[in-house]
Symmetry: C2
Subunit: 313 residues, 2 copies
């Protein structure tokens, strides 16, 4: 059995969607450059993909790879919905050899809640290549909505189509999780982790000591360090440094405060330690960073003149 | 009045969401590295952003820029939901000087339905910085769902949070469109355009002549050329070339067919014209393209060994 993994932050983009009433043309092999999700409306659907012959029943779903040839392996049959879409990054095909349960460990998505995390920290969703969704009519209804959007296009219909696709993916992924894991509630420690991240986010500019954190959460610091590391993959100290340096970068870019003042404002012991930490995380010194940004700015890069995109730098 | 434009294919990523019952801490200025959407649950909310003092009522929404300082400009007040999120690409801030109606021309999203289009062709959504959504309780309910996902995290909750945010954005954008444009139905010619794109997608490998297209759509070819150009921004001929070259790239990568055979299969007049067209669109010759891909493959780049990502090359 094959599965697909999908980055939770993928740009899913619907290219086209239709209901297809099977006709003799379906006996001719076809392929298209996008992923294609097929869902049977009226059974049966006799479809061959590569060497594999399927007889699909009502509600069955099949996900095709880009350029994968498919056609009816015998005449006749009912109808199916299809949606073609692109995904950035691409879906990954995972073969049956892998351990599905370990794939489905979804807690690591938690690292994405850190203020300093980026797209590649996103968790992955797993869906089978061939499946029958338990919420069959919700899926069929979602296809119905998509077809209507195509037939009577209104403002922002493309955006709505993409949201429909995201919903189809979500339903299929949740189904698989339900089947494989008896308990899809996440462990209670994740709540403590959340609280911890919130406290760090709110107090990183003050002196954030082990004792003060222990007091606020009423948990041993060692335990908090462990769960933070477990869910985020980094240490509390590194995260605090990341938060401070993130703020420092903003202050260097958008204010004229001196490096000394910024070090002081962010509760660094001394400016030297601030510069050292900055260099460790960013690869250049604070004043270099400021110079570099000023140079880019004076070169007239318009996207840098607004405060709209600071976390990109 | 300020507006934000959001790329319809932005990766919207929820960082955190809460209901905040206003307390004296809110008198202290705060800022965070992400966008923040605030929605008033219980009025009033006295909030100052920069030099601007607002008194917000129930249902009012306010969108804050990354690092934008905000705080209560007087004590007291009710509660508000907030969600912090990142967006890739960033939101763009548009000032009141711009012509909103021309911004709201959303038909150009249609170019994104071409098989050969990429992310930057996506349409943009426009939402105001300060607004009161007409579907107030649907928005508040969406916040409620997000808070519940945070408080009782279940598998794939992060993905669901992002879908909730996308919904909040959608509602706000649709509202503005409704207000500014009396008719959000797209013109009937877009249906003809859709049919035309479908026909081109299905028949680009055969000989696709002006006469055959005219016959299938029962419209003058000149008219079809005009609407195709209007919605897609390119000519029918260029699109047909793009489709053929897209397929050619796949055949060059994944099969061992000769350049001659591929030219023939894709109905090019002769191999020379095929090579010329390929070079014009891709910047290198078909055989160069094949060599380059083989080199990458033998260098062991694992993401190239599966047929999962062909349209990236």
């Amino acid at each position: 059995m094959d599965y697909f993994s999908i980055n939770g932050l993928s740009r899913l983009d619907v290219k086209w969607s239709r209901l297809y009433n099977i006709d003799p043309n379906f006996l001719i092999p076809r392929a298209n450059p996008h992923y294609e999700l097929i869902m049977v409306a009226d059974s049966p659907v006799f479809i061959q993909v590569g060497q594999e012959k399927y007889t699909l029943n009502g509600g069955d779903c099949l996900l095709l790879l880009p350029w994968e040839e498919h056609f009816a392996w015998k005449p006749g049959g009912g109808s199916f919905f299809w949606v073609q879409f692109s995904s950035d990054p691409s879906l990954e095909l995972i073969d049956a050899g892998d351990n599905l349960t370990s794939l489905l460990k979804i807690c690591h998505t938690s690292s994405n809640f850190l203020r300093t995390s980026t797209n590649e920290h996103a968790g992955k969703l797993i869906i089978p290549r061939l499946y029958t969704p338990s919420r069959r009519y919700e899926c069929l209804h979602t296809f119905e909505i998509m077809i209507n959007e195509f037939n009577k296009p209104k403002g922002y219909y493309h955006y709505r189509l993409n949201r429909c696709l995201a919903k189809l993916i979500e339903i299929s992924a949740e189904d698989l999780l339900d089947k494989v894991m008896s308990d899809i509630n996440l462990p209670a420690s994740i709540i403590t982790y959340q609280r911890l991240v919130e406290i760090l986010n709110e107090s990183y500019m003050l002196e954030c000591t082990a004792a003060s954190i222990e007091r606020m959460l009423d948990r041993k610091y060692e335990y908090l360090c462990n769960i933070f590391k477990k869910y985020s993959g980094i240490t509390i100290n590194l995260y605090l440094q990341q938060l401070r340096i993130q703020r420092a970068k903003y202050l260097l870019r958008e204010t004229e405060k001196s490096v000394q003042d910024i070090a002081f404002e962010l509760s660094f012991e001394n400016p030297l330690y601030f510069s050292k930490t900055f260099k460790k995380l960013e690869g250049l010194s604070p004043s270099h960073y400021r110079d570099k940004f000023q140079t880019l700015l004076s070169a007239g890069n318009p996207s840098l003149t607004k405060a709209t995109a600071p976390n990109l730098y």
